[in-house]
């Protein structure tokens, strides 16, 4: 489950400083080259998506499929526009649930990781149970949560936190353990105590791993929100899907799914942005070793 970031450290001998710049500009100048590079990354997936949509549209037309079975993309987009207020209102509910649940998952995941790494006994006692906790089908305990907490936001937030804390915890544990033991020894000889060693060496070493966990958790959080709402809710995109399903409003259901996916992508993008801002050294090193 833990995604390991590839930590590459360019080892350069010799006394010439390596330039921190990328390859020398090619013909057409630097900005032209950059523009082409962006285009090379953005155009293929965009064209691919357009092709899929075109085939979908054409297939539905040719086969003369019922809209309630499989709507054409144009029908989905016009349905999306028609129920835009409904989508926005319900999206807001789901976004709030995800935001709170996700933050809770970070607190829980990082907190557990720090606890488990702070004592060998704690790790031995709790790590197996941490893994076992993931064998429990968490959506299945959602109904119990509803019994305990009612139909408000709480059971959804708890389900989201429970499904998404695990990759955060496991990755952070791996990250803390990836700290070079020699670096910890060096800090000891400088008179650094346990907490100073944690803050100066172990926590920064763990950050790239933590961000990998956060990206996996972002996808899981959206799934958790939908499950949480299916069990018992009166608002939210998951709830909306159930309602639309009862009305066999297939186009509107597709539209809702697109909005849910957009929320997941936005969360993922936010995590990636935070990573870029918080770990400039990590990306500088990677760029360097890729060039």
């Amino acid at each position: 489950m833990s995604a390991l970031p590839d930590q590459q450290q360019p080892a350069a001998a010799g006394d010439q400083p390596r330039s921190g710049l990328a390859d020398p500009p090619q013909t057409g100048g630097r900005s032209g080259a950059r523009g082409r590079k962006v285009a090379a990354h953005v155009l293929p997936p965009l064209l691919f998506a357009l092709a899929v949509l075109a085939i979908w549209q054409l297939g539905v037309r040719l086969a003369d499929t019922e809209e309630s079975t499989l709507p054409a993309p144009t029908q989905v987009f016009s349905a999306m526009w028609e129920i835009r207020d409904l989508l926005l209102d319900n999206a807001w509910v789901t976004i709030k649930e995800i935001a709170i649940g996700y933050v809770l998952a970070i607190v829980l995941g990082v907190g557990l990781a720090v606890l488990l790494c702070s004592s060998l006994l704690a790790e031995r006692a709790m790590y197996p149970w941490l893994v076992v906790s993931q064998m429990v089908p968490i959506p299945a305990i959602a109904p119990i949560l509803v019994i305990w907490t009612g139909f408000d936001m709480r059971p959804k937030v708890i389900v989201i936190a429970l499904v998404s804390f695990f990759p955060i915890a496991v990755n952070t544990i791996d990250g803390i353990k990836s700290t070079e033991p020699e670096l910890l020894n060096l800090l000891k000889t400088l008179g650094a105590g346990r907490w100073k060693r944690f803050w100066t060496a172990q926590l920064p070493s763990a950050l790239p791993f933590l961000f990998s966990g956060l990206k996996i958790a972002a996808a899981l959080a959206v799934i958790g929100a939908v499950f949480g709402e299916w069990v018992g809710a009166d608002a939210g995109l998951g709830y909306l899907i159930l309602t639309l399903n009862n009305q066999v409003a297939t186009s509107e259901m597709f539209a809702t799914i697109i909005v849910l996916a957009a929320i997941g992508i936005a969360l993922f993008g936010l995590v990636q942005l935070a990573e870029r801002l918080m770990l400039p050294w990590y990306h500088a090193g990677r760029k360097e070793s890729n060039s």
Binding site: P10, A11, G14, P17, G20, L183, L186, A284, E288
Partner: protein, 269 residues
């Protein structure tokens, strides 16, 4: 053992040994018993093949490992813990990739509670001497091997300990960079005469840099020979060709070669 210096010693290692208890109940002796003395301001090297216990000895002097026999005296006293008392530079530069060069070299000051502003000011003064001026804002991954090593040395210097342990600091550098770094290290050391205990497996490097060289051999390791290097200072690269230099080198190489020959014979049978 030859001439022990008269001045009160900075570091005395008395019959220090280390035995590790293996998992199978069999004890492994990593260090059989080492004696050495380093006077204040001296540059002393330990030469020996890998596996002779020199790194174990280093970890003991740095306070990272407790010896199972013998004792270590710092300024004539046996401290409760050597941690935080001795400057320590391991083989790897251990620069933290998430800190700029400047924030890496101030690590020691930061750990002893000096304010960030003061620490940076102190580091700025020394950047030029360590060939890092203009590079202080870079990430360590953007530095050459030689610069990384100089940054690690500056970090050790700035920690401000009287005695510094350097464990093969130039071991990973190419031969040419290595030689210029040796010359540079002598210049830096000459300027403020800190006490240095230096580990290497390169006999030439040991003779070139040191006032005294200890030879460690064997498994378990022990100090076999102590040789005073009475070559004039300041030393320059040309010294390598002088007959005195070659003679000293030969004197050190002979016991090292014999020991490794014996080891090979024991294996080959």
């Amino acid at each position: 053992m030859s001439a022990v210096p008269v001045a009160p010693a900075k570091l005395v290692v008395e019959g220090v040994g280390k035995r590790f208890d293996g998992d199978d109940g069999e004890a492994v002796v990593a260090l059989a018993g080492a004696d050495l003395t380093v006077a204040p301001g001296e540059f002393v090297s330990i030469v020996g093949p890998s596996g002779c216990g020199k790194s174990t000895l280093f970890n003991i002097v740095a306070g990272l490992t407790r010896p199972t026999q013998g004792r270590v005296l710092l300024d004539g006293e046996e401290p409760a813990s050597l941690l935080g008392r001795v400057g320590y530079m391991p083989q790897k530069d251990l620069l933290m990739p998430w800190r700029s060069v400047l924030d890496n070299v101030t690590l020691g000051l930061e750990m002893s509670g000096v304010s960030r502003r003061q620490a940076r000011a102190r580091a700025q003064e020394e950047l030029g001497r360590f060939g890092l001026k203009g590079f202080e804002k870079r990430w360590p991954s953007n530095l050459s091997g030689g610069m990384r090593q100089r940054a690690a040395l500056l970090r050790t210097f700035l920690a401000g300990r009287e005695l510094m342990l350097l464990d093969e600091p130039f071991g990973a550098l190419d031969a040419l960079t290595r030689q210029t770094m040796q010359e540079w290290l002598l210049d830096v050391w000459q300027a403020d005469r800190k006490t240095i205990l230096f580990i290497t497996h390169d006999v030439e490097e040991a003779v070139y840099l040191s006032d005294r060289v200890y030879v460690m051999t064997g498994r378990p390791g022990s100090v076999q020979l102590c040789l005073d290097v009475e070559l004039p200072r300041p030393r320059r690269f040309e010294l390598h060709g002088s007959p005195e230099f070659v003679a000293l080198k030969q004197k050190l190489l002979t016991p090292l070669h014999e020991a490794s020959r014996r080891q090979l014979d024991a294996v080959v049978g």
